[in-house]
């Protein structure tokens, strides 16, 4: 047994994150680590990397107990990590990021930039051939950042154990498949991989063993071949998975959002589309295809010179977010840490910031009432089943999936006409995912137009009544009904490869 963890416990100021977790990983295996949001997966990983010091329990490597006091020690043991929250140096390029904390190739006393670039280009060729390696990380999309993290973990001295905490959360099918291949190559070389994911189908396809955590303790483990998807769900939550409701097909309802003649993409070609009342329009594309950019323009976070966007017939001023909110718009951004949460403010305030008048002490006075803040937070907590302590805790004390629910909850309590969801369930467990899907559907049923992006093909098919595919800044397909199949979608998503814009 390469790695054997027994009875690991960890408390965070009262809250139990780990309560006797066990985990055994063999060399050369791909081990799926599963559990609901807040089950303790990331905490377990952090104990392995020396970022969290466990209160009790043992970690054995090749049968000998080890204590891991820091990242450097963990790396020296041959461990590599992809952490759940993206952590790149914003003004470093992919190449530079991959070498942070590593041994640099040198020429004399100086670092050898050419050798660095070469080493990374080699790894990138297999994982992400399209990833721009010489652009600062701050200008990469979330998915591209994730790819950089993956490359980082696979670079350098050979590892014995690679831990991946939700590496595919913002990758679409194409990139995810390349990662799967890389993982298989690793395991063929005898490297053990711990793979955390909320995409159960992926886990079923990729992993050979699994361990399920529930409330910080191991609820079960075994070989993937001996269990099926419902069985995993039952182990994780103790409940049955909610069957995905069939796609709602909207009646001939009026268009709520119309986008016409919007210049978009590297060629500034014009984009037009409409979403009818009750419709959920899914946007699909590869990493970097421009989905988030398009949604940001629709949301008014970026301006546009030509074209127009109308909501319920009224023209929206380019670049005015306030105008969208007033007209009944709502937006869930993709990167919760950088675009979503105000981490220095309480959970309750994060939930209220977009609609402060709703938590006034007196309707007429611009004074915020603590009671109202708390009531609003508790109502949202109940509605979305957020696992949290006090509404006045900081959002970062929540698990990733629960943080995601906060972004959703922010828009509660107002009539919603337009709902923009950029990767709404990134890092959310199956149970919560179903709840969020139900929520999106209920907004749609109430008459809102929903514009959604997801990298998860299952989610896309489960939710959307129509799908637009973006490739290289252009809409390459508009699919619904019978032609809405994974094959058609993927095909359209890869279209740009053949006609790559030389100016891009």
């Amino acid at each position: 047994m390469l790695l054997s963890i027994r009875g690991l416990e960890k408390r965070f100021s009262g809250a139990r994150a780990l309560a006797g977790a066990d985990l055994e990983v063999e060399a050369g295996s791909v081990h799926g680590l599963l559990g609901e949001n807040g089950a303790g997966k990331s905490t377990l990983i952090k104990a392995l990397s020396g970022l969290v010091r466990p209160d009790a329990g043992t970690i054995r490597l090749d049968g000998t107990p080890v204590t891991i006091d820091g990242v450097a020690e963990a790396e020296a043991l041959g461990f590599r990590f992809i952490h759940q929250e993206l952590s790149l140096v914003p003004h470093f390029t992919a190449v530079e990021n991959a070498f942070v904390g590593r041994r640099y190739p040198r020429r004399g006393p100086f670092i050898d930039r050419r050798a660095m670039a070469q080493a990374i280009a080699e790894v990138a060729r297999d994982i992400a051939p399209d990833l721009p390696l010489d652009v600062p990380a701050a200008r990469l999309t979330t998915g591209q950042k994730q790819l950089v993290e993956i490359i980082r973990a696979l670079t350098g001295a050979p590892a014995r154990l690679v831990v991946m905490d939700e590496p595919t959360a913002s990758l679409s099918d194409g990139e995810a498949r390349r990662l799967h291949q890389a993982v298989r190559r690793l395991s063929a070389r005898g490297v053990a991989v711990i793979f955390i994911s909320h995409r159960l189908d992926e886990v079923m396809a990729l992993c050979d063993r699994f361990t399920v955590l529930r409330n910080g303790a191991t609820a079960g483990s075994g070989a993937i071949s001996e269990i099926d998807r419902p069985g995993l769900v039952r182990l994780m939550s103790g409940r049955e998975e909610l069957a995905a409701a069939p796609r709602a097909v909207p009646a001939q309802s009026p268009a709520v959002l119309t986008v016409s003649g919007l210049p978009f993409g590297p060629g500034e070609e014009q984009v037009s589309f409409a979403i009818r009342s009750g419709e959920i329009l899914g946007l699909y594309g590869l990493v970097g295809a421009g989905r988030s950019s398009l949604m940001k323009i629709v949301w008014g976070a970026r301006g546009h010179d030509e074209g127009e966007i109308r909501l319920d017939g009224r023209r929206l001023r380019p670049g005015s977010i306030g105008g969208r909110i007033a007209a009944g718009g709502a937006y869930v951004p993709e990167d919760r840490r950088h675009e979503g949460l105000i981490t220095s403010r309480s959970i309750a305030e994060n939930l209220a910031i977009a609609d402060l008048p709703a938590v006034r002490l007196q309707p007429g006075l611009p004074l915020t009432g603590l009671g109202a803040l708390k009531r609003r937070a508790q109502a949202i907590q109940a509605a979305l089943a957020v696992k949290m302590g006090s509404p006045f805790d900081r959002p970062l004390t929540l698990s990733g999936g629960n943080q995601q629910k906060l972004l959703f909850g922010r828009w509660f309590g107002r009539p919603i006409r337009l709902l923009i969801l950029d990767e709404p369930t990134r890092g959310v467990d199956v149970g919560a995912k179903a709840e969020i899907h139900a929520l999106a559907r209920s907004f749609a049923e109430a008459g809102a137009a929903v514009l959604m992006t997801t990298s998860d093909m299952d989610e896309l098919l489960a939710l959307s009544s129509r799908v637009l595919v973006l490739a290289g800044g252009r809409i390459t397909a508009d699919l619904d009904g019978a032609v809405l199949t994974p094959a058609r979608i993927i095909d359209a998503a890869f279209q740009h490869a053949s006609r790559k814009d030389p100016a891009a």
Binding site: A301, L341, I342, S344, P366
Partner: protein, 310 residues
Amino acid sequence: MTGFVRRFGTLAALLVLIAAFSLVSPGAFGSAGNLINITQQMTLLAIVAIGATVVMAVGEFDLSTAAIVSFGGILAVTLFKLGVPPPLACLAVLLAAAAFGALSGFVVARFEVLSFIATLSVGTIIGGVTFWLCQGATLFGDIPAGFRDIGRGTLFGLPTLTWWLIATALAAWLLLDKLEIGRRLYAIGGNREAARLAGVRIVPNTMFAFTVSAVLSALVGILLTARIGSANPTGGGGYLLSAYAAVFLGMTAFREGESNVPGTLVGAAIIAVIGNGLTILGVSTFLQDIITGSIILAAVLVRRVGRQGG
């Protein structure tokens, strides 16, 4: 225990300081009269620091404060010399300062210029204007006695300056902690992009924060002139670093890493108490600096070490 140190370390440091000085010098330091006088001595610094607190709530710096303090005093006396009645003159000063603050805020928010360099430039310009107004000279005379009373004497048993501090602190606390706009400012300071995407308007809110800071600095310039009866073109120079020291000291009091009005008051009080106490004890100025630096460092460290233990 460590929890307490962690949350209230700086406040505890203030209380320990007061207790220690009172023990050593019960008659002079510990007298009610002196303690009240400290509130007056800390007023000007504290008001500048409260302005800095508001700007730091949006995550920015305002390095033009010192220049605006000097500017406020010089412009006020210049207007007095022209025969403008004091209330009107003060209003004009505050409006002029507000314009400079709004300019800084606009440049910072609209063009995303780093606030450090933007306010340093605006401060340099204001400094030039100030020197030009008075030709570098200290302005004295033509200061109406009625005007001087807003910065000296007592009112209902407390020094007039102390009332200004109470009023300003109360208003700023309401603004940042109770009013909606305060939550917006903190949201911008906490995560600008997230706040923007949630519909908080960055430009007007940032401009507002810088305007408040500028107006408070100009108010201090006016009060300083009333207090000392003259205006000097570099008279505000001493306030910049101490004001930010007060804010930063305060950030470790009460809350984690956010500027806040009660904390800033504690910070300003620490600085004032050290200065007052050491002078009363007859410690030489040179040694005072060494002790002051060490005490501030200790006050911050105590809390941090408490944290490491917790």
